[in-house]
């Protein structure tokens, strides 16, 4: 599987409800690797109602920049939520289907 299989995919709950689209992949740096750098491990999907402006990164709290741009993008992405990848049931045809509804 590639990251692009997840990025931009629509996320639906077990009962078919639409949560939004995947605009980011939250990682920790504790994955197994035979090299000197631990591999990134995707822990959660960043799911928002809109895709517009997500590549700018302003929906992340630590991101700084022009306040007006930041405010507009955060306003567009105020419904952003993190969905644990453990909730994924299957990935098919650009849709991530969850086994359960996230809290």
């Amino acid at each position: 599987m590639r990251a692009s299989d997840l990025l931009g995919a629509e996320v639906r709950t077990a009962d078919g409800g639409r949560l939004g689209v995947v605009t980011g992949l939250r990682c920790t740096t504790d994955g197994p690797s035979a090299g000197s750098v631990p591999a990134p491990r995707v822990r959660a999907l960043v799911v928002t109602g809109r895709h517009v402006g997500s590549a700018l990164g302003y929906q992340q709290e630590e991101q700084r920049g022009p306040w007006l741009v930041r405010a507009v993008i955060r306003g567009l992405h105020r419904q952003t939520r993190l969905v644990d990848v453990g909730l994924i049931d299957r990935i098919e045809d650009g849709t991530v289907r969850l086994a359960d509804t996230p809290a």
């Binding site: 590639r2 980011g24 990682c27 750098v37 990134p40 491990r41 822990r43 590549a55 992340q60």
Partner: protein, 130 residues
């Protein structure tokens, strides 16, 4: 999981420049390969580069044409994106540093062939003015 110990793979890894230990440019990270880990999550196992990796990320016809052209021009019957195993990575920063040179990785044979047999034979291509 807090924002302090996590980062966004989309923003921090994709589209970054891959360089060798001497800073020589190798390629861009156009996509990454993920595999499910036994202890949870999906782990990055390789960096992918080239039109066969970038194409699926591009919208609509542009993406489909990019992939189709790359397949048509490929030498192999079943072309795949250029792949750098993640174990080759030594630093993740503003650029991704790997422990091998571009020649050692042998990820762009066609480009290397053109450089050696065509570009380097053009008078002045070896910075003769310096």
């Amino acid at each position: 999981m807090t924002d302090d110990d996590t980062f966004d793979l989309h923003l921090r890894l994709l589209d970054r420049q891959v360089v060798d230990p001497d800073g020589g440019m190798i390629c861009k990270v156009d996509d990454v390969e993920l595999e499910p880990a036994d202890d949870g999550g999906f782990v990055v196992t390789a960096l992918l580069s080239g039109p066969l990796a970038l194409g699926p990320r591009l919208p609509g016809r542009l993406g489909r044409w990019t992939v189709a052209l790359a397949r048509r021009w490929a030498e192999e019957p079943h072309p795949a994106p250029r792949r750098i195993p993640f174990e080759r990575v030594t630093e993740l920063g503003s650029a991704v540093v790997v422990d091998r040179s571009r020649d050692d990785l042998r990820i762009a044979r066609l480009e290397d062939w053109v450089r050696i047999h065509v570009i380097e034979r053009i008078p002045g291509s070896r910075h003769e003015s310096e």
